[in-house]
Amino acid sequence: MVDVRRLLPRGYLFTVLGIAVGVAGLVALGAMAERITRFIDGGDRFVLGQISVAGEGMGMGTGFTAGGLLRASKIQEIARVPGVAAVQGQVMLPLNPTTSQFLTLTQELILGVDPAVRMSNREFRELPVRDGRFLRVGDRGVVVVGADFAASRRLRAGGALDLATGRTFQVVGVLDKTLTAPDRFAIVPLDDARDLWLRRDPLLVQVFTGAGGLGRGDLNTGAAVAWADGVDPDALARRIQAEVPGLNVTIPGELSRLLRQSTAFFSALLFGIGVLGLVIGGLSLSNTVTAAVFERIRDFGIKRALGATDGQLLREILGEALGVSISGGLLGVGLALAVGTLVDARGDGQQLFLFSPRLLAFALGFAVVLGGLAATYATLRIVRLSPAEAIRRGA
């Protein structure tokens, strides 16, 4: 078995552990910040990737397609507007209607799409499937679930899922993690989504079966509109609004700004977490390295007595500080990864940490640079002392 103590400069084991704790704190806080950033960025990419359209009115759907019923005739009118490349009618429903109005950032959604129509969102042309397959033309009674949705219910391709009382769907695919909204989606064929909607909404059933003149094709909570290459999406959204009456049209740029405003609290929180991580990790690391150097002041006094110059001593201490900082940094990263993985594996499907390569590289770089600065500061303090004074202070 490898004796770790032999791999480190002798006497530095506790220094390395001290640095590891500081770096682990920095990495863990940073990973939580990264996770929230990815979630917000994912939402932003989504709204900037399509023009979301719903029917006029207060809304029967949810999410990005909230608004009135969007009839098939309206979808055809939208498709004729110059600059529109494709229109995909959708049904988006909350999985649990009683909580959907409150938990808007993390709510689970049922999304009905027509696999025959290409996904209209430029940023999410294809959703990556981890297990099984995506929806195919002609599918009925099947569902593809997001990664968090699957994890919280221990679902795999081949399993079964009850999306409404008495209506069981076969799970044909599980999506890869996107770290944003689709992680909590249950995606079903459009016709199945329409059935689920009708089961849930008695008022809609009366309208549908009465004299409203509605067909199944009119049952859309909204549509995603794709634009042709080179078209300004905001300008196109305004053109659709002007040319097709009776629509709620979201302007991608405005929606993105709205989203940013509504997540301003999280952005501030992220900034706070980042600053806190840097302060805690930085103080812990620099204090540990400085204390470790001062702890060996007697040794450096002896070395000065043996002829070590300022430069030789600085190089020697910096070399040791570098070794110790890298060891502590790697150990801290490993510690944070282990704790983060354990926490994220607790089974409720929520991923709290995102250990991005840029975060890990930053943490290691931070440890090395700060360790070097702390060691330099301590060395400059020590070389100002006479060798005899350094030996006395270290005695």
């Binding site: 007595a305 043996l306 110059t309 300022d310 006479s386 005899a388 030996i391």
Partner: protein
């Protein structure tokens, strides 16, 4: 004449910041190959004198010359080089570095003067063999007895064959047997290599074997002559 020191004075600061004078205008001359003992009651300034002569402590007043160079006026870097090449130290409490083995401690003296490692390694092993500690080369100081530690410290002090060796109570923590070994080596150093040795000691037998004994009292030189053996 190897060492000439004139008017050496040193004052420390007490806990309340008040001045505590330790040495007052001390003059010391030591010839090449001479063994000089420094004696006197505790607190009379013996160790401070040795620290000043070894450039381990800055002077308040006076000058120190090694051969033709006024080393007390040199820059900090130049004084480091003088310490590495021209002066060897042996301390009462050995002052070995705990994180290094006995051999690494000895070799430390060669590191800072840029001496080739193979040559230094061979010399270190030869010295350790002569002092009877070569079998302890890979042991850490905590694994050595006091006598062994002081013999390792002696090897480190003389590895670069410095013309001046300063020994501050080198036998203070040793039994008579180990003390005799160290004192015999210091005498041999003067005789065989022409090294100058300045030895702070309380032991009458050690002072008696020196060429001269400097007697300090309350920071002043009381006598500097010839009551040791030649």
């Amino acid at each position: 004449m190897l060492v000439r020191a004139h008017g050496l004075s040193k004052t420390f600061r007490g806990p309340d910041g008040s001045p505590v004078p330790v040495l007052h205008g001390v003059d010391v001359d030591v010839k090449a190959g001479e063994c000089v003992a420094v004696a006197g009651p505790s607190g009379c300034g013996k160790s401070t004198l040795l620290n000043l002569l070894g450039l381990l402590e800055p002077l308040d007043a006076g000058e120190i010359w090694l051969d033709d160079v006024c080393v007390s006026r040199l820059s900090r870097g130049a004084q480091c080089r003088v310490r590495g090449r021209s002066i060897g130290y042996i301390f009462q409490s050995f002052l070995l570095i705990a994180g290094l083995t006995a051999l690494e401690n000895v070799l430390l003296a060669a590191r800072y003067v840029g001496r080739p490692r193979p040559e230094a390694l061979a010399e270190a092993r030869r010295l350790m063999d002569r002092l009877g500690v070569v079998h302890r080369a890979d042991h850490y100081p905590a694994q050595l007895s006091g006598g062994e530690q002081q013999r390792v410290a002696y090897c480190r002090a003389v590895l670069n064959a410095p013309p001046l060796v300063l020994a501050d109570e080198p036998t203070g923590n040793l039994d008579d047997g180990h003390a005799a070994v160290i004192l015999a080596e210091l005498r041999a150093l003067c005789r065989e290599r022409g090294t100058s040795v300045i030895l702070v000691t309380h032991r009458a037998d050690a002072a008696a074997r020196a060429d001269r004994v400097l007697r300090l009292r309350e920071g002043r030189l009381e006598s500097q002559g010839g009551d040791g053996h030649s």
